[in-house]
């Protein structure tokens, strides 16, 4: 089936044609069936249910990656009344999402075992969230984008409140839920106005409509504003970032790792589909909106992060500043800019996974999370390998050479310079230097300060340690060979 090209499929008779085309949806169907199986199995395995759920979830994700890789050379098709699109961007993002979620599960496992009341729902809700992200990755219609987003968000709200006895987690979950609901409302309002004007929910049709209209219809800008605000909320860009620090701090670290990695990939596709595939004609308008969001995110994210003493809160503000960089790539409105933003998002996910992975593998002996920055003092003396990985992540986030974070920032700046946004590039560099301060402070704590608290490591973490080391090596390896990944990112946007 893989070698069939699009012409020979179209020559097949009706029903068979449909069937062959819908093979591209196999991964999603398989994931749904796999998740439901895991759900049922976890009910009937009693005391072992957590182990079994973990193994089954990883097996499901491994199967997904296999199916998705097999689907890589399938032709690009549009299915289900043009609601589902299978294109290069969707193929790449889906594989990345599944791999990321598998890594998250592996990192989170020792931490969850160490919790007093750990339950199998972490993996089940995680798999459902993955399904939501895959739906978003190939959505070509307002309805499917919205449904995928809600499926993802619902799982995340419940995951934040995973530790039921923690007041912080409950507070974070309520904040996240209320703000998320408002954001969804804004997004839906924008979409409904857009539907009222263009008469279509389909992004491709909306683009065609926008190409053919004459004169300015101010209602379009109105709808666009609401859609951009909705997207900014989900990204966590300033001034719609209020939920990010509280949720990162309040949620258990395993869930913080989840929220800060895979959903960013999904949010990136959502932004690309809505703004570029659907409303490329309005580029002049959304460019200015993204510019404001990006500048504010860079400035506030980096400056407020300096004042944080809580490590998860600091990483939350650092996320906001990274989102600023992703938006800088997006706002150029042309293909190299999109590719650089995609590259940045992928590298950001790699860095965030590594940084939170280190935090997950450490524990204090009173079995609480690592939360204060000062907890990391003298980490080099107790755990030199984890110290090196943390240092690599921090160097990479700061954009230092010898780590891939340097290239991620470089490509975004390059796209800005190509498109004559010199002042934005200068501002981004200045803010990166400001940001370097708090990343280097972590390295100073780890290497140059005396041991304050002797941290323990989690038990049963062999696999997590192996993957984490690979994660650290990738940060350096991709610095040496960035071209393969960059070329792939460029080829995704034809």
């Amino acid at each position: 089936m893989d070698s069939l090209d699009i012409n020979s499929i179209d020559s097949l008779p009706g029903l068979l044609n449909m069937l062959v085309k819908s093979l591209v949806v196999m991964p999603e169907i398989a994931l749904l069936i796999g998740t439901l199986t895991v759900l049922l199995v976890s009910l009937y395995t009693g005391r072992n249910s957590e182990n079994v759920t973990y193994v089954f979830s990883l097996a499901t994700l491994a199967g997904m990656v296999f199916l998705l890789l097999r689907g890589m050379d399938r032709p690009n098709v549009v299915l289900f009344n043009e609601m589902y699109v299978h294109d290069e961007l969707a193929k790449l993002i889906k594989v990345l999402i599944c791999v990321t979620v598998a890594v998250i599960f592996i990192y989170a496992r020792p931490y969850l075992l160490n919790l007093k009341n750990s339950r199998p729902e972490f993996y089940i809700l995680g798999l459902f969230a993955t399904l939501g992200m895959l739906v978003m990755a190939s959505a070509q219609n307002f309805i499917t984008i919205y449904l995928g987003l809600e499926l993802l968000s619902l799982c995340l709200y419940a995951l934040v409140a995973y530790i039921r006895d923690s007041n912080d987690a409950a507070e974070a979950a309520i904040k996240y839920f209320v703000l998320g609901a408002i954001a969804s409302g804004l997004l839906l309002y924008g979409m409904s106005i857009m539907y009222g004007i263009t008469g279509s929910l389909n992004l491709a049709e909306i683009n065609i409509y926008l190409e053919n209209i004459e004169g300015l219809n101010i209602g379009l800008i109105f709808a666009l504003t609401f859609i951009v605000v909705g997207v900014a909320f989900k990204f966590g860009a300033v001034p719609f970032h209020m939920w990010v620090p509280d949720v990162y701090q309040g949620a258990p670290t395993a869930v913080t790792l989840f929220i800060s990695t895979a959903p960013k990939l999904a949010a990136f596709v959502m932004a690309i589909r809505l703004l570029s595939y659907g409303m490329q004609e309005l580029v002049v308008d959304w460019q200015q909106m993204l510019m404001i969001l990006a500048v504010l995110s860079l400035v506030f994210g980096n400056i407020i992060a300096i004042a944080q003493s809580h490590i998860k809160r600091m990483l939350a503000y650092s996320t906001i500043s990274h989102i600023g960089f992703v938006l800088l790539g997006l706002l150029s409105g042309e293909n190299f800019g999109y590719a650089s933003a995609l590259f940045y998002t992928i590298i950001y996910v790699l860095m965030a996974a590594g940084a939170f992975g280190v935090l997950l593998l450490l524990n204090k002996h009173n079995r609480s999370d690592i939360d204060e920055l000062s907890d990391l003092k003298g980490l080099n003396q107790s755990h030199p390998r984890l110290a090196i990985i943390m240092m690599l992540m921090m160097f990479s986030m700061a954009g230092m050479p010898l780590t891939v974070g340097f290239y991620a920032k470089l490509y975004v700046l390059q796209s800005l310079v190509y498109n004559d946004f010199i002042w934005l590039a200068i501002l981004a560099v200045i803010m990166s230097i400001v940001g370097a301060f708090y990343y280097l402070r972590v390295i100073k704590y780890i290497y140059f300060d005396d041991l304050l608290v002797r941290l323990g490591t989690q038990n049963n973490a062999l696999m997590a340690n192996a993957i984490l080391t690979t994660n650290g090596l990738l940060i350096v390896g991709l610095f040496i060979f960035p071209n393969y990944l960059l070329n792939y990112c460029v080829s995704v946007f034809p």
């Binding site: 299915l79 809700l125 459902f128 499917t144 449904l147 499926l151 799982c155 419940a158 009222g196």
Partner: protein
């Protein structure tokens, strides 16, 4: 046409008033009842648009199920109304001002923009709304329909995850123990001294 317009304004008026009453009345039970009225009148508006199925579904689902549940919750919770409304008078002017400005801006912008107005033709009397909806849901919209199903499943799982706890003190039936019980487990013969 005149009758239709009159009916529309009649129901719309009730809808707006009951929605306003819902957020301003003091008693939460009254607020829930006003919300029921709002749902009911919007159901009537849908009937006016010839969307019979949606109108009936709205009344059945929201009024019949969701709001009844809501009333139960409101009545069972001990809500301190005075405390919840403490900031109401203080924030009201600011809220009204911001709301009025935003509403005015939105009305100005939207009245200047053009919308596609396609007047649909009225359908024949024996036209089945439900059947047409069903056809659309299971053909053109089957993909989003299935995703919506998954979302509902996640909602169930999330609700159970957040609320179900096994407490050591809770009393539970164990059918297995109940049916395998023997006479000697329950009956004890005691020798009592005869008086």
């Amino acid at each position: 046409m005149l009758i239709q317009t009159t009916v529309f304004y009649f129901f719309s008026g009730i809808l707006v008033l009951s929605a306003l009453a819902m957020i301003t009345v003091r008693n939460p039970v009254h607020a829930a009842l006003f919300l029921v009225l709002a749902f009911f009148t919007s159901g009537a508006l849908w009937l006016l648009l010839e969307a019979e199925f949606l109108g009936i579904a709205l009344i059945l689902v929201y009024v019949g199920a969701v709001m009844v549940l809501f009333l139960f919750v409101v009545m069972m919770l001990d809500i301190n109304i005075a405390k919840m409304r403490a900031g109401y008078a203080k924030y009201l002017p600011v809220g009204l001002l911001v709301g009025a400005v935003m509403a005015a801006e939105m009305i100005i912008i939207l009245s200047k923009s053009t919308f596609e107005h396609v007047q649909p033709n009225a359908k024949a009397a024996d036209y089945s709304n439900t059947q047409e909806l069903g056809k659309l849901l299971y053909t053109e919209y089957v993909y989003p329909f299935e995703i919506a199903g998954v979302i509902l499943l996640v909602a169930i799982i999330a609700a159970i995850t957040l609320t179900m706890r096994k407490r050591a003190a809770s009393k539970q039936q164990s059918p297995h123990n109940q049916i395998s019980v023997k006479r000697k487990d329950r009956v004890r013969l005691a020798d009592l001294d005869r008086e």
